[in-house]
Symmetry: C2
Subunit: 250 residues, 2 copies
Amino acid sequence: MNETQNQDRLYQDLARRLMGELASGRYAVGDRLPAERELSLTHAVSRPTVREAIIALEVQGLVEVRVGSGAYVRRLPGRDDIPGFGITAFELTEARMMFEGEAAALAASQISDEELGQLDQLVQDIAAENQAPGGSEQADRAFHLAIARAGRNTAVFNTIEALWNLRANSPESALLHAKARTANVKPVVEEHAAIVAALRTRDPAAARAAMRAHLAAVLDYLLFATEEQAIAAARREIDAKRRRYAGTAG
Amino acid sequence: MNETQNQDRLYQDLARRLMGELASGRYAVGDRLPAERELSLTHAVSRPTVREAIIALEVQGLVEVRVGSGAYVRRLPGRDDIPGFGITAFELTEARMMFEGEAAALAASQISDEELGQLDQLVQDIAAENQAPGGSEQADRAFHLAIARAGRNTAVFNTIEALWNLRANSPESALLHAKARTANVKPVVEEHAAIVAALRTRDPAAARAAMRAHLAAVLDYLLFATEEQAIAAARREIDAKRRRYAGTAG
DNA sequence: TCCGAAAACCGGCCTGACCAATTGCATTCA
DNA sequence: TGAATGCAATTGGTCAGGCCGGTTTTCGGA
């Protein structure tokens, strides 16, 4: 048993364990959870703590509490609770290529001169950010969201923003991106500048093409980074085998 | 005082009130909430209840609790808590036109014969659904999500699904769509069939065009429905004025 | 003026208790 | 025999009070 990686409060620990039991299929939708008093015994915590944990589940819509009856499973925890789960960096980037391309096309017909100026500034910020060691992706994110915002469509903006949040939540994705970014500073800046230039012409097709080109390049970087990773892994494996059989051969 | 519309538990009532105070701008991000003991006095509840309410806010990411220090505002309740809030039916449909068009293009290069067969069936379901009085949009939703799924990209599928959920959450949107749908049964079925036909050719550009054409038509329906609504509203207003001034004139 | 220790404050968690809603079972009546 | 009724056990709802350990503030000494 991984007895409670601490640092959280007890109720969070309990809530996580209960969520795990839900995810494990131990309970079906509609089933009743054990009573609060019973849970407090089986999990060795007080009833108030059990209540807090159940409330945490309730707020997330996982269970429904009926007075005098019990807590019932309303839905099972799924990918909604783990945004980005099961999504690879490639899928995410492909989705961004498709959707941000359209967002850029929309922005081309709506963007103001002031917003174009802000994008110019953001391109410079990206350049600075990429040269700094261990730089963040703050400016990069701001750049893409500014374009999405320029389309003047809340649904579009929310969608693009959600994709970026997804990216932050996916550890695999973040790692790959960081790796890919370090090697290719100049191209990234040029691509972003090209997007701004296309937007400045107010040509939707050109803006779409520039954005897609940029993200297609990102996709390439990712591929490259993955290959390197795969090669390194393969090399390690071969070395291990070599060592293992060294005794046999000698 | 709106003394507690009951039926919920106390903690929910308190949590709602606290959320209201956050929304009212009384606290800024980073501010500290009153201490638990203080809240229990000012709101006339026990400390456990206050704790439960604060946990409800914490689970939603609204506040962050620091041991020995207090509960701090992490973000203000906004559109994140009411998905679809502030998004008009037009924005949503425009976003769908852009994004589902791309999803259809992706699907064209990935879809299997079996999936094409399922789409054929769904087109028939949509026809049946639209003829039934007060029919739902179940088949319509299933049709569009099936196409999104056929692209074999989880991020893309999740995005399209999120847009459909948004649609369900927006009352204004649902109303308008219901109104628009009743008047135009045949075209809708034909448009869906055309999308399947385009997918069957495996031509991304054709699939994109068919999907965009369909949603552009939906946009037109919406416009029409809105105009009718606006005209009716204007007529009511004129009538009201007429009645108001009838006494003056007579 | 600066620093460190004590005190005040704050959340974390527990015990024990009582109330109200629900539910299941046994009793009772038709 | 079957349905209606009433009671008791179970369950969540809430409270009071208390102790602990971490954080912040304060105040006196260096």
